[in-house]
Symmetry: C2
Subunit: 392 residues, 2 copies
């Protein structure tokens, strides 16, 4: 006989690839009374949101909004609006999410050239240059800025220049990076950029920011066929974000409250202060892992501060470590995906999850988990190295 | 100089076409701690949700889930999974949302036959029969059960029989009806049925239930081409709802908490008790409107209890009435769409919005609003007629 289900979501320490810890301020905002999707208070909130979204994307793009759905809905909106059936596209695949971008480009009926690099390495600009030259007449290039599957941070400006030199749009996935890692849509030349609410913004999942440059909007307005999704059609969605708004779908009212509060927290700290703080905390955590005898998969120059892939030491059963962390302390870190399964842990420092107290607990708990498997670790070395770097 | 924005969502009395009033229990659930999208507690919740969704759809369909997005995302999932480019489809348009279904079928590349009826009248089965015969080899028929734009309740079983006789799938939109009006997916032969969370279920918007019959799943599995949306692909989405789940996208964790609680409230009351209560309240409200000298657009046999289109009396400025209700009491009712603009108000009794105290306030406030425009109404007649019917 199975136990009756009891609804009682536990308080986890979310150090995985997202969702991240949601601050109490955001949860309180989420539970405010639901209003109509055309209520003056909601229309006002949407305009505030647009301003805050421009801040976090570092853009002046008029066409800045959020898509009602997961980050993958925003990814699909980016691709479906940029590409028409038969268009040529180049996609940079250096992990799981680059490959998802490829699959969605294929469902858009595009002729896709894949630029592949090993999981753990970023895409090389020279490879993109060669692919653009070979394919010819490419409409869009897609690339992931922060690959959650590998922990790679991809340099964007050079790829953007190449795309523009070839009259192609640059689509950038910042789901795992925006709000936690330096990013500048306008200065770097990213034409369509999207993210999720539940990673470095620390709002809850289901409402996904996206921005389109004027170049992207000109291309979208010049399409010969309508977007293959009515729901994700940028032109239709944007009419809802206009003043006065035109009905397109029911906005996810309470999620907008949460996103607003999550963005306000970033604005209050200051985006540059925040990315610097995350970087410092990540570097200190890396020092902690190294002091415990572990190494990172990705070389430091391409390492994503918000998501670290740390290699599982020899002799350690990685799944048992995760189970120990979850059972003893409710800590969520996750295993590797695809070719990295069993080889790495993925440790996130996204949004409100990026707190020294969480890292200290993680390092101490990992030490205990290693010892429980009979693997020796210098006692307290991880925490000491972390604390020293944080104090420096 | 514009006033600084203050985030302070007001407490409205939501008597429009949705979102409906969200019970405190649901808002509290919404604000529970966010967990990971593969957390054992979330995986358990998804299974509970599937059971509760089968209850509200009145189905045994294995393929019962919710789509991360607005009701329109679920509409698009229904269409994109059922139809491939070049497939023939019949769509019944008796209002705004039937027309949206048509637009989405066209974006799916289908060859669409439209069966149109006047706004305010349901689709006639004989018209569907003729369209099916004329088009030949139709893959799917689409129809709206509760038209939010007109207040029409459409009879389903006969249309379902016709679809099945022609080997077509029946897609039914229940966004404005499910959980508030009698509906039986299995008994009536509806193959793909979807709804929204924020209408008669009174959870918040952004997570939209959908169910696929075994016939629908067989057709989907027999497709020659993949679904044109990776995000809305039913086969991929269903892997996330399996046990153990396979990652597809990040579920809208906190919205799932809200949907669960909204469905629990329905389950506790009992679906049949609930639809009977809504019907009784609606009938009493109609009596109230009539006692005030108003008439309903839709004849009673086709009238949707959850959304009433009440005709604007001669000599009344309808927008001024809505402004009065909103400004004096924070009551939201809305105006007519398309050909009904200026002619009707749309009054919803969806989910937790269906409460006698709200109807009494509405009737009293409308009387005052009419008098403020110099139009005479028998004092207290609306409230008296409502209360009498409710007591009966």
């Amino acid at each position: 006989m199975s136990e009756p289900f009891v609804f009682d979501p536990p308080t986890r320490i979310l150090l995985g690839p997202g969702p991240s810890e949601v601050p109490a301020r955001v949860l309180s905002a989420l539970a405010r009374p639901t209003v109509g999707y055309m209520d003056p208070s909601y229309v006002g909130l949407m305009q505030e949101l647009r301003g805050l979204l421009r801040m976090v994307f570092d853009t002046k793009n008029d066409a800045t909004l959020a898509i009602t759905g997961a980050g993958t809905a925003a990814m699909e909106s980016a691709v479906f609006n940029a590409l028409e059936p038969g268009d040529k596209a180049v996609v940079c695949v250096h992990g799981y999410f680059g490959d998802r971008l490829r699959q969605i480009m294929e469902r858009a009926g595009a002729e896709v050239t894949v630029v592949e690099s090993a999981w753990g390495s970023p895409t090389r600009a020279t490879d993109v240059e060669a692919a653009l030259a070979k394919a010819g007449d490419v409409k869009a290039v897609g690339i992931v800025h922060g690959e959650t599957s590998t922990g790679v941070r991809q340099d964007i400006p050079e790829i953007a220049s190449l795309a523009h030199k070839n009259d192609a749009l640059l689509i950038v996935d910042t789901v795992a990076s925006l709000g936690g890692v330096e990013f500048a849509a306008d200065a770097w030349g990213a034409d369509i950029v999207y993210t999720g609410a539940q990673k470095c913004i620390s709002a809850v999942p289901g409402f996904s920011p996206i921005t389109f440059s004027d170049r992207a909007m000109a291309a979208i307005n010049a399409r010969k066929t309508p977007c293959q999704s009515w729901y994700l059609d940028a032109l239709l969605n944007l009419t809802y974000w206009d003043t006065p708004p035109k009905y397109h779908h029911t906005g996810p009212i309470n999620l907008a409250y949460a996103l607003y509060e999550g963005l306000r927290i970033i604005d209050e700290e200051g985006l540059t202060n925040r990315t610097a703080r995350v970087k410092k905390t990540a570097q200190a955590m890396w020092a902690g892992f190294e002091a415990m005898g572990m190494s990172m998969l990705v070389p430091e120059e391409s390492r994503l501060p918000t998501l670290t892939t740390v290699c599982v030491p020899d002799g350690i059963d990685e799944a048992k470590v995760r189970a120990y962390l979850m059972q003893q302390h409710g800590i969520e870190i996750v295993g590797g995906l695809g070719p990295l399964a069993g080889k790495v842990w993925r440790v996130g420092l996204m949004g409100a999850s990026c707190q020294p107290r969480h890292v200290i607990l993680l390092l101490a708990a990992m030490e205990a988990a290693f010892k429980a498997q009979g693997v020796s670790v210098p006692s307290g070395a991880g925490v000491a190295a972390f604390s020293e770097r944080m104090a420096g």
